[in-house]
Amino acid sequence: MSLGDQLLQYLFTGITIGAIYGMVALGFNIIYSATGIINLAQGEFVMLGGMMMVYLTAIIKLPMVVSFFLSILIVTAIGAAFERAAIHPLKSPSVITLIIITVAASILFKGGAMFAWGKHTVSLSPFSGEEPISVLGATILPQTLWILGIMAATVALLILFFGFTLTGKAMRACAANRTAASLVGINVKTMVLLSFALSAGIGATAGIIITPIALMNYDRGTMLAVKGFSVAVLGGLGSNVGAVVAGFIIGIMESLGAGFISSGYKDAIALVVLLLVLFLKPSGLLGSRERAEFKKF
């Protein structure tokens, strides 16, 4: 393989993993916008999605399509239940309390997954075929196309939801100003519930589509959450376009870093980017400075 082919191959890998990071970041954004909470259990939704899909297809032996939507539905319900059980009852909690609660929830989800499905790593067969498609000297797995397609569909649905439905607009109003939203009659508490359900669903989708390529394990959530958060911050917390763009940037940086520098330090790349962004420009690449003024950095 020539250097150019190699570069192209790393680029494809980076785009694949970047799409997943972008989707995790979207989940962070949705909850953050509605509540101001960073849900540290976000990665667990991704893990649960992947594990649930494997369970439904391999153990219960449901058809692929049914399992896909059922897994998303179940994890969405888990996200909603989490909000009702642990976030909803809190009366004016401090930020430290909220952080510890979402961390505790992520430990519980992780422990629950280990309890239910064990510690071993599971695999899932790709949605269609395993024959790599060769493009300009490099190869793409058909699953990569599924990932990009489903990510594009998710983003499109989100744009439609936030732009053209009453509920979506109400959620945006909450993001802009919670007090004002409740004054015009929006039920803010319901919007918070919805935001947890929605981001659990998106997380689960990401988990399902990445499992055929990256496998899944009860322990994967934390790292995915940290990467997703790095992406969300790089893109500008709350900016969905930023999340998608930054996802690809970090995905590609990571795969180039793993290929040309050191695979052992691959996981550190997103973290170093996160620290640099937090230290130098916490509003991120696409987050507006004006909006950042209102955030509590």
Partner: protein, 311 residues
């Protein structure tokens, strides 16, 4: 620092002296050594979280930096364990200082994520810098401490060493809490802007308390390294950072005593939960979640308040 605290310290010292006489079994002493080591970290973390209101999800990294600096210097370069411990404090304190200045400009969730990212990076370095750290499988044969010609070899020796240091650290911390600095730290927790306007240099104090808590963690790490005599990266990962925060939260954030009690509870409890093996993670999660939801001031402050309400 108040008559109550002096009395508590004296009682603690008495209990520490007396305990080994009652406990013939060295297994319990071994557990108590760990309680002491973890208490050193949680006392610092309670200064940072409880008093100053700044969160850290990366303190296991400082514990690890102390342990590895101490372990590597004494094992591979023949440095005496005491000097290695001091070197650990300087290395860890220095790194904490470099991180603190930019990180503590951040608040809440952002600070949490920055410290988490820092902790992860350090953990990755422990795993990858295998020429020094032995990588994931670690390295052993770390020398134990000596006092003159006397080699500290049994659990009892380490028990007294560790708990003496706990008392020293407690004394220092209580003095800080009950001084001008302590009031400044609490004013940051109550409202940083207000504190600033009142003339408190909040940035300086936040950095100082962060570095101090890292130094305590480093001290604990060195004690750990020269007690266990073997190091691998696992005890210094994200999970342990969470356990540390859990200890502080369970005991009661705004009290160094609470932090010690939390450390004791969450060290001893798992010993009794051995039957659950891997599932102790579920128990940790549940305890943490329930306490944060219903007793956000911690177990002891919460129970005290409940008792007062009953009256």
């Amino acid at each position: 620092m108040g008559r109550k605290n002096i009395l508590s310290l004296l009682i603690l010292a008495g209990v520490i002296l007396a305990l080994p006489l009652g406990l013939g079994n060295s297994y319990y002493l071994n557990v108590l050594v760990f309680v002491g080591i973890y208490s050193l970290i949680t006392i610092g973390l309670s200064l940072l979280m409880g008093y100053t209101g700044q969160i850290s999800l990366g303190h296991a990294a400082f514990f690890g930096l102390g342990a590895y600096t101490s372990g590597v210097l004494s094992t591979k370069f023949g440095v005496s364990p005491w000097l290695a411990l001091l070197a650990g404090i300087f290395v860890t304190g220095g790194i904490a200082f470099l991180i603190a200045a930019p990180a503590l400009k951040l608040k809440g969730h952002y600070l949490a994520m920055a410290t988490l990212a820092f902790g992860y990076i350090v953990f990755i370095v422990f795993n990858q810098a295998s020429s020094l750290t032995g990588g994931p499988s670690g390295f052993g044969q770390i020398p134990r401490f000596r006092l003159g010609n006397f080699l500290l070899r049994s659990d009892v020796h380490y028990y007294y060493l560790v708990w003496t240091l706990v008392i020293v650290v407690l004394l220092v911390s209580l003095n800080i809490i009950h001084s001008r600095v302590g009031r400044a730290l609490r004013s940051i927790h109550e409202g940083e802007l207000t504190a600033n306007i009142m003339g408190v240099n909040t940035a300086k104090y936040k950095i100082q308390v962060f570095v101090l808590s890292a130094v305590y963690a480093s001290l604990a790490g060195s004690l750990y390294a020269h007690f266990i005599t073997f190091l691998n990266p696992t005890p210094f990962g994200f999970h342990f950072s969470i356990v540390l925060v859990a200890m502080v939260a369970v005991g009661g954030m705004a009290s160094v005593w609470g932090a010690m009690i939390g450390a004791a509870l969450l060290t001893i409890l798992p010993e009794y939960l051995r039957a659950f093996q891997d599932y102790d993670i579920l128990i940790y999660g549940s305890i943490l979640l329930l306490i944060m939801m219903f007793l956000p001031q911690g177990l002891f402050a919460g129970i005290l308040r409940l008792i007062k309400k009953e009256r």
